[in-house]
């Protein structure tokens, strides 16, 4: 068991903004236009949006840690 965790690597971020578009409850952009993680352990209702953000991120700056099945 574990928890669903979101992590971002700001060094990779290119400010494309896809994450803000699909999961605004989890991601925002700072005053440089780079990713801010608002919620590293989002509730289950947002897990699908978090996975989608990770998939869409063109710089692969978002990683998801899924709980063990």
């Amino acid at each position: 068991m574990g928890t669903f965790k979101v992590a971002v690597d700001e060094d990779l971020c290119i400010g494309a903004g896809q994450c803000v578009l699909v999961a605004p409850q989890i991601f925002d952009q700072d005053d440089r236009g780079l990713v801010i993680l608002l919620d590293a352990t989002p509730p289950p209702a947002l897990h699908e949006a978090a996975r989608k953000a990770a998939k869409l991120c063109p710089a692969r700056a978002i990683t998801i840690e899924e709980p063990d099945a």
């Binding site: 290119i14 400010g15 494309a16 903004g17 803000v20 952009q29 236009g33 989608k52 998939k55 063109p58």
Partner: protein
């Protein structure tokens, strides 16, 4: 592993159906998805036609996006010359790419672009006011697809709107397939020179605009030379004027060909954002991109790409991959197409994508709501498709409308 002795097909291909990608892409995807072609100069390059290969290669450090690399592939001799002289981060690998791009990311952030929505809607409404007074049929490209993104860009950048004709000429010179190298390079220099003058004007008289902010934050502080900013500015002007334009022209034609889907875009605000992603997927106007050159011998899907060979990671082909999109040749504004690659993928994914999305989310519902019974009013062959351009769309789109909406 293949070695080719027969002459390779010449790239780019001609489209047989003007609203669809060249038929060769689907054939290649089914039989030989990493597909060898010859370019204008006889050199071999590789086309990627599968979604997964495109996404993998554009983010693979064994492939470079440096325009200056002698092996970097281009579709014309003119493009080779402008690529070699490109100084904006669009033609750089990391770490230089991120260093420069990050000076501009906030200017195109999701939040900042969303805040522009009312201003963008006002520009669209003004253009429709004008259109509604015109004789029918009227050319939707000349009176909406071209001026709408141009007015938005001029407002954003702080360049005078009268200059948009010049900017469009410079964009066309780079994005065309028929220019000589001299013509293309001259227009590239002219546009960078134009932007340099704009920077100098904003240094004298700053305003609340993109150029003035970058001057204050990065030029005055010594992060960015005026000349380097001018190169990035020229890139932004070209991209901002010549991509959304093509989405509006061809996107309108496609919607009008699918009346039930057009009605949904007109009447249901919930459908609109997804419809824009689907139109982006379906049109994929930046049709010969992204491009890369192999930095070492690399095997992709069992095919050896040699060091120094070029790759076209074709986003129009990836966006029609049936492994990723069910029934990919069907336009369906209700599908989830958000993972399309029309803006590219990897570090070079479009800087202006949020602006483009909002422009398109505004313009299509507005057109359909305010121009009742909007319809194509062209005779057979009258619509000129951009077979002569690297960024695909329509040169013209004659439309008509009626005053009372019939539903």
């Amino acid at each position: 592993m293949h070695e080719d002795f027969a002459p390779l097909p010449r790239f780019p291909f001609r489209r047989t159906d003007p609203t669809q990608p060249p038929a060769e892409y689907a054939r290649a995807r089914a039989t030989r998805p990493v597909y060898p072609v010859s370019l204008w100069d006889g050199r071999r390059a590789w086309l990627l036609t599968r979604y997964d290969d495109v996404r993998a290669v554009v983010a693979d450090p064994r492939f470079s996006g440096e325009f200056a690399n002698p092996g970097f592939p281009a579709v014309t001799a003119a493009r080779v010359v402008v690529d070699r002289n490109e100084r904006a981060f669009v033609g750089m690998d990391n770490p230089r790419h991120d260093h420069y791009r990050r000076m501009f990311t906030n200017e195109f952030s999701a939040r900042r672009m969303m805040a522009l929505r009312p201003k963008i809607a006002a520009i669209g409404n003004r253009l429709i006011d004008d259109l509604l007074t015109m004789a029918q049929p009227a050319d939707l490209v000349a009176h909406m697809a071209v001026p709408f993104p141009s007015l938005v860009m001029c407002d954003l950048v702080g360049s005078p709107y009268e200059d948009h004709v010049f900017i469009m000429e410079c964009a066309a010179a780079r994005h065309g397939l028929t220019q000589t190298p001299d013509q293309a390079e001259r227009k590239a220099r002219e546009l960078a020179g134009y932007f340099l003058q704009l920077i100098e004007r904003k240094e004298q008289a700053p305003g609340d605009d993109f150029v003035s902010r970058i001057v204050a934050e990065h030029v005055r502080t010594g992060n960015l030379s005026r000349e380097d900013f001018a190169e990035v500015g020229a890139m932004i002007l070209r991209a901002g004027h010549d991509t959304t334009t093509n989405m509006i022209g061809l996107g309108t034609l496609l919607l009008l060909d699918h009346p039930e889907q057009a009605a949904a875009v007109r009447d249901d605000p919930e459908v609109v954002p997804g419809a824009i992603e689907e139109l982006l997927r379906y049109v994929s106007p930046v049709q010969f991109a992204p491009r890369r050159v192999a930095l070492e011998d690399v095997e992709i899907a069992g095919v050896l790409i040699r060091k120094g060979e070029g790759v076209f990671a074709l986003n129009p082909a990836a966006n029609r991959d049936p492994a990723m999109f069910d029934d990919p040749d069907r336009l369906d504004v209700r599908r989830d197409a958000s993972h399309h690659l029309a803006f590219g993928f990897g570090i070079h994914q479009c800087l202006g994508q949020m602006l483009a999305r909002i422009e398109l989310q505004v313009v299509f519902p507005l057109l359909l709501q305010r121009m009742p019974n909007l319809r194509v009013a062209a005779s057979e062959g009258e619509i000129r498709f951009k077979d002569d351009m690297q960024i695909y769309g329509v040169h013209n789109l004659p439309v008509a409308w009626s005053w009372a909406r019939s539903r």
